[in-house]
């Protein structure tokens, strides 16, 4: 049974696109004082809705429930800091290309950690539901303490409940850039760099909805709008975005002639 157009149809009928975003994930998505959501991913979500000619409804998700939300059609689309992994590709429709990339890294007090091997036997704060959490326990022998939200996890680091905060390098870099984390550093390179992908229900991946998204994201890389957002939100420029921009840029030089 081909239901690959189902989501797009119901979005158009409804006039509303429901996008799952994380919510406490500065600067990709976070609350403003009036309670509304804002951030890079929120902007992206609004662009998708705009190009479909519908309204965007933002739904707060957690890393623990986002896949269920999508499966149960609570949301039409995830733009919520989700890694593109093999096992997730079995559960949801991962949209290529990714719109961002990052890898697991550490934030720790200046001088507390020098290398990945230093975490052995030490308490490391993390966030529940993050895919690579298992790594730091199995590969480096750390004692993982996973909290429900970033706030609690980072607070635990700040108040000395653990020696490092194990999370995305891009998020850590963003935090360090705010100036609120004086005395802390990101002492190690990311273990790997993994693209973040938007996701749609599995059946939609190769349907119209999936293709539209794929095209939109390709366009954001190509026209540099992702790099512009990175600048707008005061983030350190990353090599991955630059590479993507370069490799996906359409060679228009022939028009100059």
């Amino acid at each position: 049974q081909d239901n690959s157009a189902e989501t797009l149809t119901s979005v158009m009928e409804r006039g509303v696109l429901r996008v799952g975003v994380l919510g406490a994930f500065k600067p990709w998505s976070f609350r403003s004082e009036d309670g509304s959501l804002q951030g890079i991913e929120v902007d992206l979500a609004k662009r998708v809705a705009e190009s479909l000619g519908v309204e965007a409804e933002l739904v707060e998700i957690t890393s623990a429930n986002r896949i269920q939300f999508l499966e149960q059609k609570r949301i039409d689309l995830i733009i919520g800091g989700m890694y593109d992994t093999a096992s997730r590709r079995e559960a949801v429709g991962i949209i290529e290309p990714g719109y961002w990339a990052s890898g697991p890294s550490l934030m720790a007090r200046d001088g507390a950690i020098a290398s990945w091997e230093d975490v052995a036997g030490k308490p490391i704060c993390a966030k529940q539901g993050v895919i690579y959490n298992q790594l730091i326990e199995t590969d480096f022998g750390a004692r993982l303490m996973a909290f429900g939200g970033n706030t609690e996890g980072k607070e635990a680091l700040r108040s000395g409940k653990c020696v490092a905060w194990f999370y995305d390098d891009s998020s850590i870099a963003a935090d360090l850039a705010t100036g609120e984390w004086e005395g802390f550093e990101m002492p190690v390179d990311a273990l790997f760099v993994n693209p973040w992908a938007a996701a749609v229900p599995l059946a939609e991946k190769d349907g119209a909805f999936g293709k539209i998204l794929s095209g939109l994201i390709y366009g954001w890389h190509e026209d540099g709008s992702l790099i512009a957002l990175q600048k707008e939100y005061d983030l350190q420029p990353t090599a991955w975005l630059a590479d993507m921009h370069e490799s996906l840029e359409y060679d228009r030089s022939y028009l100059d002639e």
Partner: protein, 248 residues
């Protein structure tokens, strides 16, 4: 044990799709084991702390010092009228920030771990109920029985030790049993401060393996068994202390 059951559950997963990963995946198995151990230890510690707090509180309530009685009343009012999850977060993050750190040889760890704070916060929370339960037990001792011991020339202390307490304990037991059971269930909220108890452990598993239904079933079975065990222990205690013709 693990070697023995792993193939069984692997086969089960292949055949039916039922994914009990902790029974065949070594990492998930270790998470489950940590979960069970931590949860049981947490329950035992919390119950003990709550009993001690309850007894001390009930004793303080009978004190001659107004200030002390007032403090106990304030303590009960505070802990019975605010959400336990927030209490836990307040203790862990709020007060936890003010406690000293210990040198672990190169790095520092808080003197009180998240497990420790869970024991303290939940113990104090549950204790606020126990105070009232013990007090009700003491009040249930008939005044006439106390009069009789008075008429027999018992001193107030003798009356308290030989008549009031033994009777109050027996009267408190049923209410105590149900409070301890509900406290044991409440330990699951230690999840929010990353104490690796059962709920935390299994939610970790279903986050990675997406086997929510199976892990949820395990959780229900686990807690219902724990409750049954506590109920049985309290029932046994009640039977041990039962006196013919007293109560029902």
């Amino acid at each position: 044990m693990f070697e023995f059951i792993a193939p069984l559950f692997l086969a089960l997963q292949k055949a039916t799709g039922l994914n009990f990963s902790p029974f065949y995946n070594e990492y998930d198995f270790s998470r489950l084991m940590t979960g069970v151990q931590t949860s049981l230890l947490l329950i035992v510690c919390v119950l003990i702390v709550s009993l001690i707090v309850g007894l001390l509180g009930a004793a303080a309530q009978r004190s001659q010092f107004r200030v002390l009685r007032f403090l106990v009343a304030a303590y009960i009012a505070m802990f019975r009228n605010t959400p336990p999850v927030v209490q836990l977060l307040f203790f862990y993050f709020g007060l936890g920030a003010l406690t000293p750190q210990v040198d672990m040889g190169g790095w520092y760890e808080p003197m009180i771990s998240s497990f420790g704070w869970a024991v303290i916060a939940l113990g104090i929370f549950g204790g606020s109920y126990n105070v009232e339960i013990f007090r009700a037990g003491i009040e249930a001792v008939p005044e006439t029985t106390l009069e009789a011991s008075e008429a027999l020339a018992f001193s107030p202390v003798q009356t308290f030790i030989h008549v009031t307490m033994p009777l109050a304990l027996r009267f408190s037991l049923p209410a105590l049993a149900s409070n301890l059971i509900s406290l044991a269930k409440t330990t699951s909220i230690a999840y929010v401060i990353a104490v690796p108890e059962m709920t935390y452990a299994l939610s970790g598993v279903w986050n990675d393996s997406l086997n929510v239904g199976e892990m949820m079933t395990l959780l229900f079975i686990y807690y219902i068994s724990v409750v049954a065990v506590i109920g049985a222990i309290m029932g046994r205690l009640e039977k041990r202390l039962a006196v013919p013709g007293l109560g029902k």
